[in-house]
Symmetry: C2
Subunit: 325 residues, 2 copies
């Protein structure tokens, strides 16, 4: 693969080149990893940046409908939108959070939108790196907005929050004890909560839910990266295209404020440091993945299980072996 050519095509907004590049960064093969690193290094020099919006919401809140409506609104304004998914659960099911794109048929046919379903992955670490690199590729391909969505299984919200400039939590209208259903940690990373399905029979329930969350957000500790009035809860109806522009205005307002105040730069810098540390840790642990290391681990593990060797001593032998090779 000619990395310079691929790089140039991505910079020229070539969608097939982008798709090929994402497939490249998803690969576990070591020659592919080397090419991916070279490609990302080349593209990084252009320092293109998109607005990265993290989006979390459990199944049933209308996430696909929201992404489609919200995405089409953005492209109608002349913006280019990429949608990526972080889905650690697909490692088990082999499926994909975004399905076969048929759930967002109109957006997927929009020339200014690019939707990339989540691949099957074996662990969250791999999902995180793949998504981080796919975001960088989308930025290089000159997208204005990158939506990173997750169903919020396990640690995936943390991954998405550490990749995003803004974090959106999408909820459905619900009864009075709805608040208990949202983990406190998620509330604390949300910049804007959108109560979807504020239409038809659910409109009054949505109003109540939105008020409940507005109240709950006011009780959270004030974060220095928030201007007055944020984080906030708002109502939308993705189905009826209601409130989406208002939500987008709020997101832009928040983002502009953070850029002016220096929070945006600070957050990107912190995120880069965070991912660097994660990458180093993962690379260290990846030394255990080679066939030789696995064989040695099994052999030492057996001797430990038989009681022939102490755990600490066996671990020292393993480490000595790893650093020699």
């Amino acid at each position: 693969m000619d990395i310079d050519e691929l790089s140039q095509k991505i910079l020229n907004r070539d969608r097939r080149a982008l798709a090929r590049a994402i497939t490249l960064v998803e690969s576990q093969r070591s020659d592919h990893r080397a090419q991916a690193t070279e490609l990302l290094g080349t593209l990084a020099k252009h320092r293109r940046q998109a607005l990265r919006i993290g989006l979390s919401g459990t199944p049933g809140v209308g996430k696909s409908t929201f992404i489609e409506s919200f995405g089409l609104m953005l492209t109608a304004q002349g913006l280019r939108v990429a949608v990526l998914a972080v889905d650690p659960s697909s490692a088990r099911s082999g499926g994909s959070i975004l399905g076969d794109k048929t759930r967002m048929e109109r957006l997927s046919r929009d020339p200014n939108a690019y939707i990339r379903p989540s691949p099957s992955q074996t662990h969250l670490g791999g999902v995180a790196r793949r998504t981080r690199e796919a975001v960088a590729l989308c930025e290089a391909a000159d997208f204005d907005v990158v939506l990173i969505e997750t169903v919020g299984v396990g640690q995936s919200e943390t991954v998405v929050a550490e990749l995003s400039d803004l974090f959106l939590l999408l909820l459905a209208p619900a009864g009075g004890d709805e608040l208990q259903g949202v983990k406190r940690g998620i509330m604390e990373i949300a910049d804007v909560i959108l109560v979807n399905k504020a239409d038809g029979d659910l409109k009054s329930a949505a109003t109540r839910t939105c008020a409940d969350y507005s109240g709950a957000l006011r009780l959270l500790r004030k974060r220095e990266q928030d201007p007055p009035g944020y984080p906030k809860a708002m109502m939308v109806s993705a189905l009826e295209d209601q409130g989406l522009e208002h939500a987008w205005d709020s997101l832009q307002q928040l983002n502009n404020w953070r850029r002016e105040q220096g929070h945006w730069d600070q957050r990107r810098a912190d995120q880069a440091r965070y991912w660097f540390v994660q990458e180093v840790r993962q690379a260290l642990l990846a030394q255990l993945d080679s066939p030789q290391a696995r064989a040695h681990m099994t052999q030492l593990g057996d001797s430990v299980a038989m009681g022939d060797q102490g755990i600490t001593h066996a671990a020292q032998l393993m480490l000595a072996n790893l650093t020699q090779t």
Copy 2:
């Protein structure tokens, strides 16, 4: 420190030697680590084994009272009992789950009992290794039963379960929605659930709670390491010394069955393999803790944050640096 002498004293049930040895395995100093490894290796040859009982329960269920009553019952039968704590939360508070032993005053004065409070630790990994090695030292010091208790913060139950032959969950009587308060994962590792405080005004509530949990346990997937009737829920009153012998009979019955069926050996072997893998992973990551490594991480992290270097590339530089030294 003369490791042979220390080892001999521990084998001769010398409590002060045991206390010194546990302090040694708790130390982070590299010369202490080397001595601890040598000591554990020497003691391991004697292959002494105790019955390891993990015990979890949130604050307020009467854990200290239970351990005191249960421990005194065991020592009255001529058994020697050691009590250890896994308390990752003490890393923050600097305190100890077992306090200053005053909460178990009678047991702590019993010559056949040994109580070791949890030390302050910086991370769960450290807590886990320290506890695993302290268990081994107690076994070498010829204790018959080692109780390993935790308040169940975060991952600590997993640590305790991976160190135990049997896992006890202690609960207090409660209202009808009590079941929701216990994480499913804890239910799944419990061998026996004890509903404590089955005395006075709480007796009828305890009966209901016990029945609720009996029902819940029957709904769990059958585990091959359980004879008919297990896992089970039982009532005890630690305050009034009620039901403790019955609980002990049930634990012994379960343990004997597992020994006869080979599950006991299998579990110990699996646990040894598990801890070996954990130890190797931790040792790999510990390479990042040296002053040089930290300085290098900071420097590369800064250049990544400035955008001067890609994350993957910087991680490769860091790894190359680590493997050279």
